[in-house]
């Protein structure tokens, strides 16, 4: 219906400025960071200093004695308000404050509450804890057979059916062992002309949202309101209600604009802690983490990937076996989902007959790892696109041609058995190649300056099973309000959603307002993650807007107008209700995509995802062979965006994701010494700044309509993170003939590899 409506002003396809633009440039944008509540206490966290140990005692006396301290709270105190204080989306494994054991350095052990945050901080520094240290394990491979066992017993949350078989399992650090079996790789390897096997590693990095984690809880009369910089208001509500044993309706979760999320602010972070503290103190409690503390809260997954491929004489990949070990840290968070959901894409965007994948979620004594932009896919693309290039080189084939020969095309089955649709991987790759060629032949440099080019492409499945619900109200003046729990953390969802609603209602986008996420008034949504919102919430909102339109049409009939009668909405309401401004219509919409669960034995499913995302990157690098310093001089990103709702915002999502991944490729690295983070602050943990942006950076879109998407759209927030790391490593090999298999690609790593290639390897010292 609404596709016939002419382009609404600022509607779908228009690069209308973000709706909250004015607030953001004037400093008036609302973040939870700014929140102050009457009578509010500030909480400051005392953290574990051992990686694995039994808590023998916590001495809080000195902290209690500090004037102005309201209370000092430990895990034992939490039991008074929450008898089973373990949370998590996959496993109920994470205590609100450590109980009995600590499992990583930086784990919250106690909290000081005070009206003055400086007092709380000073007092927290006076707490002393005594531990009996236990053996600890930090490496994801060592964790498979370590004497250090992070959790005595596994406690699946019951949310995901594929974790049920792990219930009660003891003496293991394996939080999920996902397997995919398609065909028979072993006999295919035996028949193959060439077999290649390589191993890759990805380092731990952190999201570093510039608004550090912040949550507040406000106790009320038989209710609790949580204000949180969260990407998942609905999940927070359900999980806090579960912990408290309360009806969901007694927990209200409100969010605001987020100062960055990137996957850090999903599921439970500080919310369970502030909920417990507010109930203990019977006062509002806010915890604002310092930048340093973010590094103890959540990280990406460091990972080891082993990948083996068989290739026939024609340059066709016939078999691939991928083994992936995900370093999940001390608490599972959403790691098992990454292990499965990204795990099944580990063989890459290639058409391969025989595929085996083994993907393991590992517990270690490091800070918990969870979702981060790309949800594990950048780690996998790093491995399979480095591997792909290495094969092409070994075969003496052009890397583009080798990829094109093996690429997965629409109508063919992905390794999972799901048939590819609206996924133009070949066109994304072709556009990338075309853009790379435009620059003409590369000046390969001379002397100590060498240049090279590299490309890479990756795919990601969207989320399923999942549901978004939404509501659209149209007021008597024809303006509309959007009730959506999608959280705008910078990706521009408020604007995109308003554009979708404006388009569906046929009104200018300036007449649309988005109501901030609030579980008391806004319907359920799974969460703002995995680039799902444009597609899933977009569908729900379009349905809600169309429902509202139908009601407006019905209103026409009620007042005796023909369905096509041209009457302004304001005039229609006036005729219906007889009073200026009276009345409104409320449209609702729900979207749940089709999904077929994976077979537990084979990991196969005929309908694994509602859509695929494709992202490719091309890099030109300049390597200084005397220092190992790599400069990315040109970075090209091409992604499939379906139909872009707001092309300018899509473009900045692509450049932004690629630059973020550039940091993780070249220097970002959380460095641990026996589990102790040694660089958890921006002074030591460098993220990309103005000078790190390639001199030339460009983005291209393949606008292939996603036929199942709202107005043909699909998610795009992660796509440009996929290919950056391997494209740069491939370019480095092109420039200097050395292959790097571990991230990040620091000057030291590059220089050591160069020396080793020349037979002059440097010693570790």
């Amino acid at each position: 219906m609404s596709q016939d409506i002419p382009l609404a002003s600022g509607g779908v396809g228009s690069s209308t400025p973000r709706l909250e633009s004015h607030a953001k440039v004037t400093g008036k944008a609302e973040y939870i960071h700014n929140l102050r509540l009457p009578g509010m206490l500030h909480g400051k966290i005392f953290r574990s200093s051992v990686a694995h140990g039994r808590i023998l005692g916590i001495d809080t006396r000195a902290a209690q004695a500090v004037p102005g301290v309201h209370a000092v709270v430990t895990g034992e105190d939490v039991l008074r308000v929450i008898p089973d204080p373990y949370y998590g989306p996959a496993f109920h494994d994470q205590p609100i404050l450590a109980l009995g054991k600590v499992r990583y350095i930086g784990e919250p052990v106690a909290v000081v509450l005070a009206a003055d945050p400086h007092v709380a901080e000073e007092a927290a520094a006076l707490i002393e804890a005594e531990y009996e240290e236990l053996p600890a394990v930090f490496d994801e491979i060592e964790a498979t057979n370590s004497e250090a066992i992070v959790h005595e017993e596994l406690r699946p949350a019951g949310t995901f059916p594929d974790l049920k078989h792990l219930k009660g399992r003891k003496n293991t650090n394996i939080g999920l062992d996902f397997r995919l079996r398609r065909g028979d790789v072993e006999s295919a390897f035996a028949r193959a002309e060439h077999v290649f096997e390589h191993r890759f590693r990805v380092q731990p990095v952190m999201h570093v949202p510039l608004e550090p984690f912040v949550s507040a809880a406000e106790p009320g009369d038989r209710c609790l309101t949580i204000h949180s910089a969260t990407q998942m208001p609905s999940f927070v509500r359900i999980e806090i209600a579960r912990l408290l044993g309360w009806p969901d309706s007694q927990v209200r979760v409100k969010s605001a604009l987020l100062g960055g999320g990137f996957g850090a602010k999903v599921y439970i972070k500080l919310e369970a802690l502030v909920a417990a503290l507010a109930l203990i103190a019977q006062r509002p409690v806010k915890i604002s983490l310092r930048m340093e503390e973010q590094f103890y809260t959540i990280t990406n997954h460091a990972a080891t990937v082993r990948i083996k491929s068989g290739v026939n004489a024609a340059g066709k990949i016939t078999a691939r076996h991928c083994e992936v070990w995900w370093n999940g840290g001390a608490y599972a968070d959403i790691g098992p989902r990454i292990t499965q959901k990204s795990g099944f894409t580990a063989a890459g965007p290639y058409d391969i007959e025989h595929v085996h994948i083994d993907s393991y979620a590992m517990y270690t004594n490091l800070p918990p790892a969870g979702a981060m932009r790309g949800f594990g896919v950048p780690q996998l693309v790093w491995a399979y696109e480095s591997h792909t290039d290495m094969i092409a080189r070994a075969l003496g084939m052009d890397p583009l041609e080798f990829r094109m020969r093996n690429i997965l095309r629409d109508g063919r089955e992905h390794a999972t058995g799901t048939v590819m649709r609206d996924t133009p991987i070949d066109r994304v790759l072709a556009q990338l190649a075309e853009r790379m060629r435009r620059q003409g032949p590369l000046d390969r440099g001379q002397g100590s300056v060498r240049r090279g080019r590299g490309i890479a492409v990756g795919i990601k499945a969207s989320i399923s099973p999942t549901t978004s619900m939404a509501m659209v109200t149209v007021a008597a003046d024809g303006s509309a309000s959007v009730f959506s729990n999608t959280v705008d953390m910078g990706q521009g969802s408020d604007t995109a959603m308003a554009q979708i609603v404006a388009q569906a209602l046929g009104i200018p986008v300036s007449m649309v307002r988005t109501v901030r996420p609030d579980t008391a008034v806004v319907p359920y949504d799974m969460g703002t993650l995995g680039s799902r919102s444009t597609f899933h919430m977009g569908h729900a909102l379009r349905a809600a807007a169309e429902d509202a339109r139908r009601q407006l049409d019905a209103m026409k009939a009620e007042v005796g107008l023909a369905p096509d009668a041209a009457i302004p909405i304001g005039g229609l309401f006036l005729r219906r209700f007889g009073m200026r401004g009276a009345g409104n219509v409320t449209g609702t919409g729900t979207y749940t995509p089709r999904y077929a669960p994976v077979d537990p034995e084979t990991g196969l499913s005929p309908d694994i995802t509602p859509y695929w995302m494709t992202g490719a990157a091309g890099a030109e690098v300049e390597v200084d062979t005397e220092t190992g310093h790599v400069t990315v001089t040109r970075l090209v990103n091409v992604a499939d965006a379906g139909r872009a709702i707001n092309p300018r915002i899509v473009d900045s999502q692509l450049s932004g994701a690629s630059i973020m991944q550039l940091g993780a490729t070249l220097y970002e690295h959380m460095q641990f010494a026996q589990g102790e983070l040694t660089n958890g602050a921006l002074a030591y943990y460098k993220i990309p700044g103005m000078h790190d942006i390639p001199a030339s950076i460009e983005s291209g879109l393949v606008e292939a309509e996603q036929h199942s998407g709202p107005f043909g759209a699909k998610g795009v927030g992660e796509s440009a993170s996929f290919g950056v790391s391997p494209a740069i490593a491939n370019a480095i090999e092109d420039a200097i003939g050395v292959r790097l298999t571990e991230l990040p690609l620091t000057p030291e790593v590059v220089y050591r590899a160069l020396r080793a290639k020349d037979g002059r390897a440097l010693t570790e010292e």
Binding site: P17, A23, V25, G259, M489
Partner: protein, 178 residues
């Protein structure tokens, strides 16, 4: 100064104000807690990200490290002073049009520094823009769009400066004729 601090007087966004400031309170805390100004915000806490950028006597400082008490008698400018009567400054307008922000948390700092850059150098080249904004971090990495916005603001400011010079010259000529 006692532990609760002293009352200090300073000029905030053009207005004379007073506040009781404890010796350990940072300028960002003073702006938030005493004046409800949230545009300058603490992020890294180390003076490295630029989210807390505030002008003190015309000089950009890191408000998360700068002690509040030190602004006694000084002139303090925050991002909230840039828009006049709801009308965005040229730099702010360019940031909006070029889509030079995503989450917006770092934006006030970028807007402050970009404004100061254009005051000192009305025609910066790309290298100068990057140099000047090297102390501001944007985790959404909206850097290419920020550079574009600063160039756009610079060219508009130069045009309007030329325009106002012409205007002035015309007027002076009128006076001369009169």
């Amino acid at each position: 100064m006692g532990p609760d601090g002293d009352v200090i007087a300073f000029k905030l966004n053009g207005k004379e104000v007073t506040a009781r400031v404890a010796p350990h309170h940072t300028l960002v805390e003073v702006l938030r807690n005493e004046f409800g100004l949230f545009g300058a915000r603490e992020s890294c806490g180390q003076g490295l990200c630029g989210c807390c950028t505030v002008l003190v006597d015309g000089q950009a400082v890191s408000g998360c490290l700068y002690l509040g008490a030190l602004v006694a008698g000084a002139e303090v400018g925050t991002v909230e002073s840039l828009a006049r009567d709801g009308e965005l400054s040229c730099v702010q307008q360019a940031f909006v049009e070029c889509g030079a922000f995503q989450c917006g948390f770092c934006t006030p700092g970028f807007v402050m520094m970009a404004s100061q850059l254009l005051e000192r150098n009305p025609d910066p080249d790309e290298g100068e823009i990057r140099d000047y904004l090297a102390g501001n971090l944007c985790r959404c990495a909206t850097y290419p769009q920020v550079v574009e916005a600063v160039r756009c603001a610079a060219s508009r400011q130069r045009e309007s400066a030329i325009h106002s010079i012409h205007f002035k010259t015309d007027k002076e000529e009128d006076k001369h004729h009169a």
